[in-house]
């Protein structure tokens, strides 16, 4: 190949991809993108795709995975300064005259062969615990939702960077020609006190071409925006319109030789195919009864967490690279016993079902599932502490997540925290470490997946991130 042409091609793929129109044509879901960047994956992947179950708001590690029986004795006592060590706390509790310890009201038991401690709130998760790697030593830099969720999704507390899914779409492209590489699913809170917004930047492309934006699939009649033909336009009419559009575009391409026109023709065909492939994906009417037994009856209701978990499986089956779920409502500043129980009731069965379902279909081996929020919650009570009720503020210094499949150890627990679940005592995993590890499972060296913007080679993990080798199978 002519070196210049080769160069132009590689530049097109790397640097110019979508920054401007190019001779090759820039396409979201075209063949170019489907292949991803040349040279990737950097090493053989253990996961072909990721399903990230983001629990927005910050689930309480103290009431789910980080069992601290000794706290019962300390109930109501002041959090010792030796534990807090002057760490900053949010504006919501910094004015509180007292920071009393609130032990969990929930019972814990050891589960599975691995014997991991799991709270009674998540009995279904308890059943699949031998398929999980639980990390009890996650930590983050941010202390409030906006920066924390932006951080865990994009590697930076401040807006402006590409999200994890769009990095993956950019680097690895799509495995399915008829669906986007990066799909986003949102479900609403089960808790009664709700104040968790989401932001499109969480699945935004930042400075990457906007074709790597996550595409939201919504519950209901029109899962992808503008997917449905307008009222009165039949499939036949649509086909006939497309034929004419394509032919006239072709005439233009022949006289202008602008490759963008050819790309546009193929994108219209892709759009037409999506109009069939997406409804087919969303149509769960042919799922057997056993599916709904597994995921729970909510899975029949579009837009619920359970329905989204089922969709995530269907997307994984179709090779979608990155499926990002968001479930709102984990911000238990008050009424934690009531609201956390509601959240768990709304999600536990489906989360566990997804693990079990992928496993029975042989998909868990090359699908990485990630479960967790943007930070944890404090051992001290926010607001009034009673025997049966308490709230917990944001806690960035340690929190719990779990991962399953795609290269993870099974039935493994990493990390320890102190008696107050306030500081990590062993194996800390920083958000950038988690991101590096997720990319690693996909065959991507987080230090080498970069994009030059404003003169700098940016990456998901900024200038940090260590691979968490201990959790890799």
């Amino acid at each position: 190949m002519d070196p210049r042409k080769e160069l132009a091609l590689s530049l097109t793929r790397r640097h110019f991809f979508g920054l401007s129109s190019t001779g090759i044509g820039v396409a979201a879901l075209s063949t170019l993108q489907a292949k991803g960047l040349s040279g990737l994956p950097h090493h053989p992947p253990t996961a072909k795709r990721v399903i990230y179950l983001h629990q927005s708001g910050g689930p309480s590690q103290l009431d789910l995975f980080d069992y601290k029986p000794q706290l019962q004795k300390r109930q109501g006592t002041e959090l010792p300064d030796t534990v807090r060590m002057g760490q900053r706390i949010t504006g919501m509790t910094s004015g509180q005259s007292s920071l009393p310890v609130a032990s969990s009201v929930f019972k814990f038991a050891q589960q599975g062969k691995s014997g991991a401690w799991v709270s009674e709130l998540i009995p279904h998760t308890a059943k699949v615990v031998d398929d999980l790697t639980i990390i009890r030593s996650m930590n983050t830099d941010a202390i409030n939702h906006d920066p924390a969720i932006t951080f865990i999704q994009s590697g930076s507390q401040q807006p402006g960077r590409p999200s994890m899914g769009s990095w993956v779409s950019y680097g690895l492209g799509s495995d399915n020609e008829n669906l986007p590489a990066f799909v986003v699913l949102i479900s609403q809170a089960n808790a009664l006190n709700v104040d968790q917004p989401l932001f499109s930047r969480l699945w935004g492309n930042g400075f990457l071409p906007s074709s790597h934006q996550g595409v939201r699939f919504r519950g209901g009649a029109e899962p992808v925006l503008y997917l449905e033909d307008p009222p009165g336009i039949t499939r036949d009419t649509r086909r006939q319109m497309l034929d004419v559009i394509g032919k006239i575009n072709k005439l233009r391409a022949d006289s202008y030789h602008d490759p963008e026109i050819e790309t546009r023709i193929s994108q219209y065909e892709m759009a037409y195919r999506m109009q069939t492939s997406v409804p087919d994906l969303m149509d769960i009417s042919k799922e057997p009864e056993s599916t709904f037994e597994l995921y729970g009856p909510d899975a029949r209701k579009p837009g619920t967490y359970a329905a989204n978990c089922l969709l995530a499986r269907r997307l994984a089956e179709r090779g979608v690279r990155f499926v990002q779920l968001y479930h709102r409502g984990w911000d238990q500043h008050n009424d934690l016993p009531r609201d956390l129980a509601l959240q768990c009731k709304g999600t536990d069965q489906a989360s566990a079902a997804l693990v079990a379902d992928l496993k029975q279909r042989g998909l868990l081996d090359d699908t990485l599932i990630v479960w967790g929020g943007e930070f944890g919650r404090t051992v001290y009570c926010q607001g009034k502490l009673t025997d049966t009720n308490y709230g917990r503020d944001h806690h960035p210094r340690n929190f719990a997540m779990w991962l399953a499949g795609g290269g993870m150890k099974r039935g493994f627990v990493l990390g320890e925290t102190d008696d107050y679940s306030y500081n990590i005592t062993s194996d800390p995993v920083h958000v950038h470490d988690l991101q590096a590890t997720i990319l690693h499972c996909l065959g991507v060296d987080h230090k080498r997946l970069t994009f030059k913007f404003q003169g700098r080679h940016f990456r998901l993990t900024d200038v940090h991130g260590e691979l968490v080798k201990k959790i890799l199978a």
Binding site: A8, L11, T12, F16, L19, S20, S21, T22, G23, A28, R88, T90, G91, M92, T93, I143, H145, D146, Q158, G160, I186, V194, D195, P197, L198, F199, S200, S210, R218, V224, Y226, D229, P230, G232, I233, T234, T237, R238, Q240, M241, V244, I245, I248, R252, Y256, D258, P259, E260, T263, Q267, M270, A271, T386, D393, H394, R448, Q454, G455, R456, H457
Partner: protein
């Protein structure tokens, strides 16, 4: 000055230039070929960043670099030895570094050294010098100096410019470029028919005077200035910055010189005798996001706002990525961390808060009353002053004291069956001994306006007692104070079938929540109030039952109710009265065995608390109690003239508050009287203050002009000083980008050593100097570009040219590309005739799929959480007026690469995706536009071919070919037949969109709607050719 630049081959980027160069025996140019390579591969350890510099060696500095370079001898140069070292352990860049050098690059460095290792400073740091016009092969082709530079380059490449575009293409191109709107068919015809030699120049002059010119230019400026209608971050409620947007549009329309445009936006407030418009202009630096997430730390966000101003200002005016020096010295460009924080100090002196914006704009704000409002304000103030004079503070205070010690407002009607004052005890003061008791939890007494109240936390339960076993027909009343502390539904008091409940609270405006009160008497009777019981404040509630109907008094006034149930049914029971599981404070609970009168309800709500306050010795009264007493006295007890004046005063104050709320404000910069301290922040963290610094410009750039103050005004003047090497280059480059799709410097946000080198360096410098020479005349610069022969070329390419120059950097043709998001929609609206061409004003809410905001928004009491589409002509305003919510930007615009406006964006990506096809095929905006276009052609002509010609011309400005007409005619026939078979489909299609149909025949209209829709979906229609 740059004679050697011209023979640079068909470069695509720095790398391409370098690559292409390696095989040529010609002279290597350091600034274009070597520095970018050293910058990318070496600067991060051997560059400007002092702390991370290895071996004390830096390749951004000639003296340092020459320590390892022997000019003329590559083999003696340590630099060369190390980059091609056989031992991988000694080779540079070291193993594990993120960048490597290719063999071709190494060879290029070697050749450069052999040729003498010439060194120049980075091109963009030297002020532009006006180059002479190069000689060209065909001077006749050149219409202005731009063309000399472009043609000279083409001559070197052995390429020829393309012929001029046909007139239809030209008028569409230049209309879209200068106004963002397509020409009308009449305009096209007139231009095509105008055979005058200056027909095109006249057209350009007309377009530059169009009010839409300012809109077009503002489109780019809004991206740069991260303009949005919401605050961003967490809650993302609304703000009003559209007056600033109007200022931008008007400034472009008035052709404000770019230097003034700069100074007013950066420091208009600091100009002597600053006008309102000059203050308004400073909104540029308030367009950043503002946060008030609960629990967020003010210092952290205040720091971010200033960071944003530094990053935005440096990118917009200097094409400099100063943000890189936030945490450490810049890795590539000569900006130290200290430079960064000295620049930061310019913007760190605004009277603002770290957490703000709950109620719209965050301070400092500029109120923008119109003339009418201004005179009304004056009137009100005069009237208020006059009333206040009638009640001097001291006099009234003394009168209140006298009155308080003698008068005794009623303490409410007597004869309660039970009365709980709740001032620290649960005793019944009625004399009937129905003392209450706690049956669960731990309710707490706490201070209330009249003593104490009882607080319930959701668990506590109080049993008031067994009494008052009322039944249907028995009159009774319940009175109490309540302050609800929770959004969820709750029961205030109940007794078997009798219950007073608050429903779940909703937003009721003014950032307040309120709940409706529901009263239930057994299964038969149930009412709900129309007004709300306001959350988090004290409300007085009286519920009376006269044996037949229920009345509710809120704060002493009869409240409207809705009867939900009214059937005869007994509700007698001997169960006790209880309050449980509520989250409210309650006070002064009284139960009467009769229906209290309206007058009595008023006494309970208004008189009784005042009586309690009056009993408190003056010295011990709180401010709130004092105010209440004063208010009561002036309302009910003062001499009549004073009472009247007071009533008027209250009304006037109310009117003033209302007027203030109506007056539009906009956020501006406003300097604090005393300069805030600024520190270098280690690792960019607001908590790590180190060295204290004062405002200054980066050391590597020229100093502030003599006499310029070290504040924003001085900074602004410095930016537009003709000696500044960057400002004018960066500005003209971005103008160029509008027309050609990419700038002369591709990376319009980065003119530093990591940025792309200019494709036509001399042209850039000529334009930059011309811009300054012409007095920063923005319109003149646009005119210059669009009247060049370069611009007027056809955008038709050949396969060979596309292969040779896919990016069209050489400009042997005009660039052809898909329009920006706003224009895609505006073009459809204009084509269909739906466009509302009004300029300026508030943002609007066009069609958007339902639920997009609601599914993600914080919700609750804040603004901009739910999307209500506009109606009527606001649906069809230009897209730049679409309400821009940062966390959920307009869906159709993001699909076409519009940024989310969280950060400054100097150039947009341009993608080509199936999601774009879906928008154009299915978004009601485009279906409605297609229908209106169809109506237009149906009404214009009966002949299908003519209709097609007309529609095609309206949409693309050109006459379709016979084969195009044939294809579309076939579609028309097909669809007419299909809709005739299924007329219900036709009916559905023609009803999309709010506008009425002018054509009655649904089948005809539907068929032609599909034809028009097909036309609006053509690549050509959404492209600028």
């Amino acid at each position: 000055m740059f004679p050697s630049r011209f023979w640079i081959p068909a470069g695509l980027s720095a790398l391409a230039l370098v690559y292409g160069q390696a095989t040529k025996p010609s002279k290597v140019v350091f600034d274009r070929q070597i520095r970018p390579l050293l910058s990318d591969a070496c600067f991060s350890c051997h560059g400007p960043d002092e702390k991370n510099r290895m071996a004390g060696l830096r390749f951004d500095d000639k003296d340092s670099a020459m320590k390892v370079i022997v000019p003329g001898k590559r083999s003696d140069s340590k630099l060369f030895q190390r980059i091609q070292h056989a031992d991988a352990a000694r080779r540079m860049p070291p193993k594990g570094a993120s960048r490597t050098l290719s063999p071709e690059q190494i060879e290029l460095v070697g050749k450069w050294i052999d040729q003498g290792a010439d060194w120049q400073t980075h091109w963009s740091y030297a002020p532009p010098k006006r180059p002479d016009l190069p000689t060209v092969s065909n001077p006749k082709w050149a219409r202005n100096p731009i063309d000399h530079f472009v043609l000279a380059r083409l001559d070197k490449e052995g390429l020829k410019p393309s012929p001029e575009a046909d007139k239809a293409t030209l008028i569409r191109r230049v209309s879209l470029d200068l106004t963002g709107l397509p020409p009308t068919p009449a305009e096209v015809q007139a231009f095509v028919a105008d055979k005058a030699p200056d027909a095109y120049e006249k057209l350009v002059a007309r377009l530059l005077e169009s009010p839409h010119y300012g809109e077009r230019m503002a489109m780019q400026w809004l991206d740069l200035s991260r303009y949005a209608d919401t605050h961003g971050y967490h809650i993302d409620s609304h703000r009003d910055m559209w007056p600033w947007r109007d200022w931008v549009i008007q400034s472009f329309n008035n052709n404000m010189p770019f230097d003034r445009f700069t100074v007013e936006q950066i420091a208009g407030d600091l100009l002597p005798n600053a006008t309102r418009a000059q203050k308004l202009a400073t909104g540029f630096n308030r367009n950043h996001m503002i946060n008030y997430e609960g629990g967020a730390i003010a210092d952290e966000y205040l720091t971010e706002y200033i960071m944003d101003r530094v990053e935005t200002t440096s990118v917009v005016w200097m094409g400099m990525t100063m943000g890189c020096a936030r945490c450490h010295d810049h890795k590539y460009d000569p900006i130290s961390q200290r430079d960064f924080y000295r620049f930061f100090a310019f913007f760190h002196n605004v009277d603002e808060k770290g957490l703000d914006g709950r109620e719209g704009n965050a301070k400092p704000m500029l109120p923008l009353p119109d003339a009418l409002q201004e005179s009304r304000l004056k009137e009100l103030d005069t009237a208020i002053k006059a009333r206040e004079a009638q009640m001097p503070q001291k006099e009234v205070d003394a009168a209140v004291e006298t009155w308080a010690s003698t008068a005794s407002p009623s303490d409410g009607p007597h004869g309660a069956v039970a009365h709980y004052e709740l001032d620290g005890s649960l005793s019944d003061l009625s004399g009937a001994y129905h003392h209450a008791r706690i049956t669960n939890g731990n309710p707490l007494f706490s201070a209330s306006p009249a003593g104490q109240s009882l607080g319930f936390d959701g668990e506590a339960e109080v049993e008031w007692g067994r009494f008052g076993h009322f039944d249907r027909g028995d009159a009774f009343s319940i009175a109490m104070w309540v302050r609800s502390n929770n959004r969820l539904a709750q029961t205030l008091i109940e007794k078997s079938g009798i219950a007073l409940r608050l429903e779940a609270a909703d937003s009721i405006g003014d950032l307040k929540r309120g709940a409706l009160l529901r009263v239930q008497l057994g299964d038969g009777l149930e009412v709900r109030t129309k007004p709300h019981v306001v959350m988090s404040t004290w409300n007085h509630v009286v519920v009376t039952y006269d044996g037949a109907g229920i009345r509710v008094y809120l704060d002493g006034r009869l409240a409207g109710t809705e009867v939900l149930k009214n059937q005869p049914a007994s509700f007698k029971s001997d169960a006790p009265w209880k309050s449980s599981k509520l989250r409210s404070n309650i006070d002064d609970l009284r139960i009467y065995a009769r229906a209290v009168t309206a007058e009595e309800a008023f006494q309970l709500a208004v008189d009784a608390p005042v009586r309690a306050m009056a009993a408190i010795p003056a010295a011990k009264r709180s401010k709130e109690q004092k105010d209440k007493l004063r208010d009561y006295y002036l309302t009910y007890a003062a001499p009549e003239t004073q009472r009247k004046a007071y009533a008027e005063l209250r009304q006037l104050l109310k009117d003033r508050t209302k007027l203030e709320k109506e007056i539009v404000t906009t956020m501006v910069m406003d300097e604090l009287p005393k300069m805030r301290d600024t520190f270098v922040l280690a690792r960019g963290d607001y908590r790590n203050r180190t060295e204290k610094v004062t405002p200054a410009v980066p050391a590597n750039l020229p100093p502030l002009p003599a006499g310029a103050p070290p504040n924003r005004l001085g900074l602004a003047k410095w930016l537009v000083d003709p000696s500044h090497p960057l400002t004018s280059r960066v500005a003209v480059n971005r103008f160029w980008q509008i027309y050609f799709g990419t700038g002369i410097v591709d990376t319009s946000e980065d003119f530093g050593s990591q940025g792309a080198p200019p494709s036509h360096p001399e042209l850039l410098d000529w334009l930059a100097t011309e811009f300054i020479r012409g007095g920063w005349d923005v319109k003149a610069m646009q005119r210059l570009i669009v009247t060049s022969a370069t611009y007027r070329q056809s955008s038709k390419a050949t396969p060979e040219l596309v292969e040779r120059d896919p990016q069209n950097k050489l400009l042997a043709r005009m660039s052809r590309f898909r329009m920006p998001a706003e224009m895609v929609r505006d073009n459809a609206l204009a084509t269909s005739g739906l466009l509302n061409p009004e300029v300026g004003g508030r943002s609007v809410y066009p069609y958007q799929p339902a639920g997009l905001w609601e599914e993600m928004a914080y919700g609750d009491v804040f603004s901009a959480q739910t999307y209500t589409p506009s109606t009527g002509k606001d649906l069809y305003r230009r897209s730049m007026y679409t309400f821009w919510k940062r966390t959920v930007p307009p869906a159709q615009m993001s699909t076409f690469d519009a940024p989310d406006r969280e950060k400054c964006v100097a150039r947009r990506a341009r993608t080509n995706t199936p999601l774009q096809a879906l928008v154009l095929m299915n978004d009601p905006t485009y279906i409605e536009a297609a229908r209106k276009l169809a109506e237009k052609v149906i009404q214009a002509d009966k002949r299908p071919a003519e209709r097609i010609r007309l529609a095609f011309q309206v949409a693309s400005a050109r006459v379709p070919s016979a084969s195009e007409v044939k294809l579309l005619a076939m579609l028309a026939d097909q669809q007419k037949a299909a809709f005739a078979k299924q007329p219900e489909n036709a009916k559905k299609l023609v009803r999309v969109g709010e506008s009425k149909s002018a054509v009655r025949d649904d089948i005809e209209l539907a068929a032609w709607t599909t034809v028009a829709s097909a036309i609006l979906n053509l690549d050509e229609v959404i492209s600028k050719e």
